[in-house]
Symmetry: C2
Subunit: 286 residues, 2 copies
């Protein structure tokens, strides 16, 4: 019975060129279009149209990927409760989506259900983990050990297993060497070495805004291709780097927008329906 809203978040896959040459801007070469970027020798390989297993993964809509992660969490809970089988209707309601969407999402990863019965919980867990790439380990580093960085480091091994925090970085000399959540903080200057040594594939930026872009550049230079950015800044990265951001200010402002919209609606309703027993004029409900 609930209205639920799911936030995507923003995926920023590459942006204009180098950080320095900011306003160069060749005339708008649209997104991924045909053009082989300028001098790049990159030629478009033969564009085969056969849907291999790999193609399949590529074809999963971004929005569905986010939901698969949620289904996985719900399913993991079910495994622990000893549930073996579940229908799309049940799983959907536990995940806060409707069943058609759930089935469509699951169909992107294959056909693992049994008609008339439902889905085998363990099978589904396995398949979603496979698609999400959770069968391999992804070491994470956190840059910026302030309030938030501390909190993140202390989660000790991010969300569940599979995302061990393998390094922490900061610029503050007083912090270097100090263990937080069991891991000693390194200096950001050591990013190249440490990232390589510990095979870090995901970088988390929790620095103050002014430092974020430079930290990002360093991570990218060190080979990190996936970044989770908590700093309220729009990062500029090359095309082959994936950035997701978590932006408190934006979230709060979106909520604020809804508060305002709601108030306006109430005012409007009150204005015309002054006669109606407005009842739910203000807050209330339940």
């Amino acid at each position: 019975m609930a209205g639920q809203r799911d936030e995507g978040g923003e995926v920023v896959t590459g942006t204009p060129t180098a950080p320095g040459a900011d306003r160069v801007a060749a005339p708008r070469v649209a997104v991924e279009d045909t053009g082989s970027a300028g001098a790049a020798p990159a030629e478009q390989v033969a564009e085969t149209a056969e849907p291999t297993a790999r193609e399949r993964a590529r074809a999963i809509p971004e929005a569905a990927v986010a939901r698969l992660a949620i289904y996985l969490r719900v399913l993991s809970g079910l495994v622990e409760q000893g549930v073996n089988t579940i229908s799309s209707e049940e799983l959907a309601s536990a995940a806060g989506v409707n069943s058609a969407k759930l089935r469509k999402d699951l169909s992107y990863i294959g056909s693992y259900g049994t008609r008339g019965v439902g889905y085998d919980v363990e099978v589904l867990v396995g398949q979603i983990e496979r698609i999400l790439g959770l069968t391999r380990k992804h070491s994470v580093c956190v840059v910026g050990i302030g309030n938030l960085g501390h909190a993140l480091a202390n989660y000790g091994g991010f969300p569940g297993r599979g995302f061990p925090v393998a390094a922490l970085f900061d610029v503050d000399p007083d912090l270097i060497g100090v263990p937080v959540g069991g891991i000693p903080v390194d200096h950001v200057d050591d990013i190249p070495r440490v990232v390589a040594e510990r095979e870090i594939s995901i970088g988390v930026i929790a620095t103050p805004p002014p430092a974020a872009q430079e930290v990002c550049d360093r991570l990218v230079a060190a080979g990190v291709q996936c970044i989770l950015n908590f700093a309220p800044v729009v990062l500029q990265v090359p095309d082959d780097v994936e950035v997701r951001k978590v932006d408190l200010a934006v979230e709060m402002q979106i909520l604020s927008f809804h508060v305002a919209r709601r108030a306006d609606e109430a005012a409007e309703a009150a204005a015309e329906g002054a006669d109606l027993s407005d009842v739910d004029g203000v807050v209330m409900r339940r």
Copy 2:
């Protein structure tokens, strides 16, 4: 070059869990849907087609709202730098979107640009603030004063101004009364009283997963209609409550998916294009 992707959100503010029921749905009835089917003659009031200021706000796509918040941040930076005017092209690039999208987004809030010139930075700041409801104060409470709760409380007055943290709650007796970021922690049992007294309109949930739903219920019962949820749980709320979530696990897993996809593509490319010289490393193009 500029590959950019922006993911909006899913809008299910009033999902009637009843699968068949709806379907009538005149254009926008929305939000306060059929719920009170019986008594209240939810007459469609005069279906005026005039775009009042209010109507306008309602019509802004969710995805655009999120971006407006980003434009606002960029613009605020420009104000400080003393910039007076900016073109859609420039602002777009600073915000990491393309100019057509930016202009379309701004058009939802009105026409404040000057053809041949651009936008007046201060005017735009004012208008976006107005639309996002930032002209009023939105008091916030944080429930769950663990690592994350601490970090949030210490931001002291959330993102910029406008979102003062007015209360903190926890269940731990050792925490009650202890000031964090200047605010003494109250017991969750006091949610009803404190929320009312301090006119809190936004609740932030930073509790462990098992406690999240109950805390949410309490906040809702206390009249909070907007919730930002950090707990990895799908909250069930009534239709008139807006929930946004920040889910670390999901973010990490989406990144993991992209790492995997990338690796697959690389493998694939290597498989067929073994002859090609391009070899410039991993992946390219999307």
